[in-house]
């Protein structure tokens, strides 16, 4: 049964989950999408903790609102749309918090657990400083351009898929990607000169 489910496509799995409430089908979808979504959301937010929360929230929404999925669209498009919307909401919330609040992090002497950071690219030493600089540059790119650039150049999606996820036409997607790339090139020119 598990083998058969693994052979199914994303759309077939979500249909199985919709019709028979098969939890295994949902688990396979989670296994397939947890890393791509984490990568996409992390590159968009630049923060691992909130990225993890957003991806989990995305999975919960898929679980809760499985019946709202229509087989007309691709499952990847649907789940990336949910993740993208949640990531944008979280990004705006973080920005508001940074503007209006004074950070008291570590000042209140509360004990907190140290997370396992071995898998974190912003902390890991082998990924080097270059990745950190690129991520910082990516965070400086305008929100709408950044999303399009990540989906195209990091996630490797087609223009058509990106247009569906963002809810705009392909021409808009292309212009957004080009503008985002141009901004990044300008920000990373020092690295390229080296």
């Amino acid at each position: 049964m598990d083998r058969n489910l693994r052979e199914l496509s994303d759309e077939e799995l979500i249909l199985e989950f919709q019709q028979n409430n098969t939890e295994d089908a949902f688990n396979i979808l989670v296994q397939r999408y947890k890393n791509p979504l984490t990568n996409f959301v992390f590159r968009f937010l630049g923060e691992y903790e909130s990225c993890n929360d957003v991806v989990q929230e995305t999975m919960i929404k898929v679980y809760r609102y499985k019946d709202t999925y229509s087989s007309v669209a691709k499952f990847s498009t649907w789940i990336y749309t949910i993740a993208g919307n949640l990531a944008k909401t979280e990004y705006r919330r973080q920005r508001r918090r940074n503007i209006f609040s004074i950070s008291n992090y570590g000042e209140d002497n509360k004990p907190y657990d140290l997370p396992d950071e071995s898998y974190r690219p912003d902390v890991a030493t082998d990924s080097g400083i270059k990745d950190e600089i690129i991520q910082k540059a990516l965070m400086k790119v305008k929100e709408t351009y950044r999303e399009a650039v990540i989906l195209r150049d990091i996630q490797g999606m087609s223009y058509e898929e990106i247009a569906e996820i963002l809810g705009v036409n392909e021409g808009t997607v292309k212009s957004r990607i080009n503008r985002g790339r141009a901004q990044l090139q300008e920000l990373l020119k020092d690295i390229y000169n080296e």
Partner: protein, 242 residues
């Protein structure tokens, strides 16, 4: 499109070579835990109207409405023009009749009596008088009787007025014992004969009496006539004896 890709080749390669960020190892376990906790604490989503009509949310609005009602009535009460109770004329009590000028009343009463007397005299003058002395004495008696009667009437009216006044204004009322004494003294002065003469002398008019008119049946009229004749005969006998 290809030109664009070439133009930003370095950027595209840089982004593609970025290390893929993976989900934490306990991602699925955390997700299951969250899903289970949500299943148990599944709350029914209430509609817009259900959310609005929650008692807790209604309290402030109800308070606001109550305050508005109170303010409205307070403002309305202030706008009313209240009459000064000290400037309102007192209500006239029709059951009480206050007599202020007793002397004037007395005079009016005396005038009325004099008029009636003068009318009676006029009536009495043309009557034939066989005996001058008798008529004189009779007239004197009549006049003295009248005087006494007038006095009696005046006193009785005074007594009535005083009684009435005493009812309405207890402070001014004369003591009844005193009034009774006066009337008794008057009564004693007038003898029984004189009083019978007064009745015979037609000094009592219908106007002065408080009587009730009754239409008599023929039988009753006969009886009355018989009585009248008996009285007249008695009077004649009395006169002859005198």
């Amino acid at each position: 499109m290809e030109n664009d890709d070439k133009k930003y080749e370095k950027v595209i390669n840089t982004l593609k070579n970025l290390k893929e960020v993976k989900a934490p190892e306990n991602f699925e376990a955390d997700l299951k835990r969250r899903l289970n906790s949500e299943k148990f604490s599944k709350k029914e989503r209430k509609g817009f109207w259900q959310n609005i009509f929650v008692p807790v949310r209604l309290i402030p609005s109800l308070g606001l409405i109550a305050a508005a009602v109170v303010i409205f009535f307070v403002m309305d009460a202030n706008s009313e023009k209240m009459d000064n109770p000290f400037l309102i004329e007192p209500r006239v009590r029709e059951d009480l009749i206050a007599v202020t000028d007793y002397e004037q009343l007395k005079e009016e009463h005396q005038k009325a009596l004099k008029k009636s007397e003068s009318l009676e005299r006029e009536k009495n003058i043309p009557e034939p008088k066989p005996d001058q002395d008798e008529s004189k004495s009779f007239r004197d008696e009549n006049t003295s009787g009248r005087k006494e009667q007038n006095r009696l009437d005046n006193l009785s009216t005074e007594q009535d007025l005083a009684k009435d006044k005493g009812k309405s204004e207890g402070n001014i009322a004369l003591p009844e014992s005193a009034l009774a004494g006066i009337s008794d003294s008057i009564q004693t002065n007038v003898s029984a004969e004189e009083s019978s003469d007064i009745i015979a002398g037609e000094r009592v008019t219908k106007n002065e009496l408080n009587f009730r008119q009754i239409q008599l049946s023929p039988k009753e009229q006969k009886v009355v006539n018989e009585l009248k004749t008996q009285v007249q005969s008695l009077e004649k006998v009395n006169k002859t004896q005198k």
